[in-house]
Symmetry: C2
Subunit: 359 residues, 2 copies
Amino acid sequence: MNTISIEDHNALVQAAYQARGYLAEEARDAAEMCAAATWHGNNTHNALKALHLDDLFGSKAGGCTPGAEIEVIQNRFSAAETWNAHKKLGQSVAIQAFNRAIELADRHGVGIVSVDNCFHYLWGGGYVIDAAKRGYIAYTNCTSSLAEVVPFGGKSPTLGTNPHSWGLPTQDAIGFPLCVDWATSTCAMGRVQQLKREGKQLPPMAAVDHEGNPTQDPNEVAALLPFGAHKGYGLSLINELIGAFIGGSLPSHRGRALPDQNEKNSTSFFFQIIHPEAISAGNFAMGRNQTKNLKAVIENILGPGNENAILPGQLEAQAANRSKQAGGLIFSDAELSELNNLASQLGMQPLNTGSLLSQ
Amino acid sequence: MNTISIEDHNALVQAAYQARGYLAEEARDAAEMCAAATWHGNNTHNALKALHLDDLFGSKAGGCTPGAEIEVIQNRFSAAETWNAHKKLGQSVAIQAFNRAIELADRHGVGIVSVDNCFHYLWGGGYVIDAAKRGYIAYTNCTSSLAEVVPFGGKSPTLGTNPHSWGLPTQDAIGFPLCVDWATSTCAMGRVQQLKREGKQLPPMAAVDHEGNPTQDPNEVAALLPFGAHKGYGLSLINELIGAFIGGSLPSHRGRALPDQNEKNSTSFFFQIIHPEAISAGNFAMGRNQTKNLKAVIENILGPGNENAILPGQLEAQAANRSKQAGGLIFSDAELSELNNLASQLGMQPLNTGSLLSQ
């Protein structure tokens, strides 16, 4: 493994985004969210993935418009804003949307920002962890770029992997914010590719073949299944319908070339912040305050017999501690090699991995 | 099957609640929500279950206080209220909380009501379907009365079956409101009892034995497992933590006799309403309005290959149509017999099943 300073990483990623036409502040937002993913041990949504998404669906494919300006749509509601992102870079939109939702929640107790005409925001967990660290209960869902998931009882993929991400400000109680963050498919298509390379089988009820029949053979996989049967299906539908209320169009068109220029192929984002004081009734048992009550409840859940259970967000927090100890972002040799290829293409020096704390 | 008029059903259920000391309006709320469950084909959360819950945990066990008054806790936030329900009947609290959340959402776009010291509200689906029919996006979660579910990776039950319920106002688009409504356990303890009676096995990874090992034998079941492994576990934790922010105490104490009178054993409720106009960016493809866009998205999801997929809320809507055609609430012979036993205990005439439309 190799450790790279956040500064060096961000300089490289910013340069890569600016070379694609993005504004300096967009490139900065993109680099910061890539760094946040790697800092928290997420190697499926790092800088390499972000740039790959931009190739597949983004500035190179017309799905994302560098320099686009967010338009705030006027409405009569004081705690709920709607925006037209005009396909601005997803990371910039998500950062601004959560900042605005926090302002609304500071005043109203709850604030929501719904965004139309979006492009991929990379990793929902990064934003909700950040908002939770700032003391807020955060939630986001979005529609995914491609329809890869089959509705429960169906055979044809017409749903995105549609993720949900919740962040809860538990750091004063247990040392880190809880983060519940996952796609509504049993696994990702990237995982299917990985199992194919490794010659391994999928878990049961994770995917279907071209006939719509369940398969565990990664070579036969045509589409994914929702996790938890009808329950995960319901959670995936929520993103599609919230997206449809906002302005998103047909799932089968998303991320694809359009048959008609009056159609849309963009994703939709939903962001919500709740101020923890706005849901406190103030009447905690045993003289506890809200933080001590959270701590007591979590300790009760992880009590005798449950020592091996972990909390969602715990692995991310452990990875963040490893990054902190290493003094920077940790990449594998293969990842470092790809990043240095990128540096070379941009006319930059190879990344420095020598001046950091040892692991 | 037998059909009973809503009026006769409600008169009986109201009398039963009033005989337990509940106020007339509490008894009316209870009867209406029992009727709503049966109307929508839900025979696990009907009047018989509601009265059974009141026996086990409610007015007969000190968990619910007839005639209790809701206290609104003052806070500085305009779109978020917190209440102390003082163990008032859950159905009355939930009806009032959603009414208040709707008023808040009409003004602010989103409104939340968080409630401490609660007693079971029976069936979350009933409230969100009602709010959706009134045109709102509704959501509720609560902590369950008993800790019956084992955290993912653990062996001991320290989580409730903690349900989530979402209602979406899709009736103008597709004829009925979508309702995503389920517990975060793979199945309910009542289902385990039913399988035991029938001599059948549980599905895999639904329950554990006294050693904390997974079992499919209903006779060996000591506790339930979350649905969807770590994903359902995360969803269950959200209810516990929202409950802990509100004022709920240790899950292992809920619904049980308390070791200390400074402890709490009550549940917590969270209610949220979003006004659909507050999340519309107004920029729908192909000249559609919001309703037509919802319809187009849902038709796309259920397109070719997915004719056999059903939407969450569809079964409830079909049951409601059957109730409407029958002209009342449909009960099995066994259920009718239990209801008539109740009538007899209350000195009331047996229920009239003769004057309604034929099925």
